[in-house]
């Protein structure tokens, strides 16, 4: 077992002093790996808090470049990063916060062709993506590879967050077996998002991931937490595993990754050149 350096003892002292974490827990974090899908509004607070906490390896999946309109909520990136690949600016921010962290940039779009090459290499996955095809893809790949997943979505002043632990509770498809009709759920680009709402929900995702890695507390498995920042209310909805779920049910009908644009009814939109993501 590698001893902490003096700097590490000081850096992580507020963790180590917690009986629920301690030196043993901090070592778990330093040896853990987390994949963050999307270095945007949710992925930013998640990645920053995981980095600060000393999660040893953070993978980032994002193929976008930083735009000025991202900076109102995507706190991984700065004004000088505009135009740069998000994975690169995010890696620089993470490494500036904590040089203990190894960042693995995946400057690609997550697809059915590469998801099962990337996801199983990590202990826990965070979904901070911005479209339904990727959300179903990440869910299915996590169920198939047995990887815990922190799922969240945001829009305007609202957020939803839950934790999916395959074999121990419902998955995203148990919650939403089908996606909404194409075009019915606007993106943050179309409908807006109060930036700090992403911070609240992303921070909750970071807490969930740290608890999973440490093996402490009660996760949001089987619970969907709803946040309304206008009313400043949190509500909790109990969700049950669906025994007929197509991917995690007793007799799954989806046993390999599928065409998620087609599943979400977006294949035609894509062929016509419509943007899939904001």
């Amino acid at each position: 077992m590698t001893a902490f350096s003096e700097d590490q003892i000081e850096r992580y002292s507020r963790h180590i002093v917690l009986p629920e974490v301690g030196g043993r827990g901090q070592r778990k974090l330093l040896s853990a790996s987390v994949l963050v899908v999307g270095a945007g509004g949710l992925g930013s607070p998640v990645a920053l808090y995981l980095a600060a906490a000393g999660v040893g390896t953070i993978g980032l999946v994002d193929s976008d470049t930083v735009e000025l309109s991202n900076l109102q909520r995507q706190v991984l990136h700065t004004t000088t990063d505009v135009g740069a690949p998000k994975c690169h600016s995010a890696a620089a921010s993470i490494e500036a916060i904590n040089p203990d962290v190894r960042v693995i940039p995946h400057t690609v779009r997550l697809t059915s062709a590469n998801a099962l090459d990337i996801i199983p290499a990590y202990d826990v996955v965070v979904d901070g993506s911005d479209n339904f095809p990727t959300r179903y893809l990440v869910n299915d790949a996590c169920v198939m590879s047995g990887r815990p997943l922190s799922h969240a979505g945001i829009l305007r002043f609202e957020g939803q967050v839950t934790t999916i632990v395959p074999g121990r509770g419902p998955c995203y498809r148990c919650l939403y077996p089908d996606p909404p009709a194409p075009g019915m759920v606007p993106s943050c680009q179309e409908a807006g998002i109060l930036g700090a709402t992403a911070g609240v929900i992303g921070s909750i995702q970071a807490v969930e991931v740290l608890k999973l890695l440490l093996g402490i507390g009660a996760s949001l498995t089987g619970r969907l937490l709803l946040f309304d920042s206008l009313g400043m209310t949190f509500r909790e909805v109990q969700i049950a595993r669906n025994r007929d779920c197509a991917v995690c049910g007793d007799r799954p009908t989806i046993t390999e990754l599928v065409d998620y644009e087609e599943f979400c009814g977006l294949a035609g939109a894509l062929r016509s050149g419509k943007e899939l993501t904001p």
Partner: protein, 96 residues
Amino acid sequence: MTTNTADITLRLFGPLRTAIGQSEVRLSCVDGTVMDALSAFVAEQGEAARPFVFDERGNQRRSVILLLNGEPVADARTARLRAGDMLDLLLPLAGG
């Protein structure tokens, strides 16, 4: 045969709230089930609401979570309403 009227409140979340422009809608459902309430809601709100709730064939979409007084609705066709009930319509959020 007698009919009963149940005054209920629909609470709307996410994109449905945006589409309708209200967070709550009050409905009077005659001798109703949750499905009756959904139909009444769509009849009142028209195309702003219909695609969220029903597909092209008129089937209830599985992308909407229904909560009756906070409890998940297993079958909207049989879940009966009482005056004062609160029906929540939750939709997934894509934004990240």
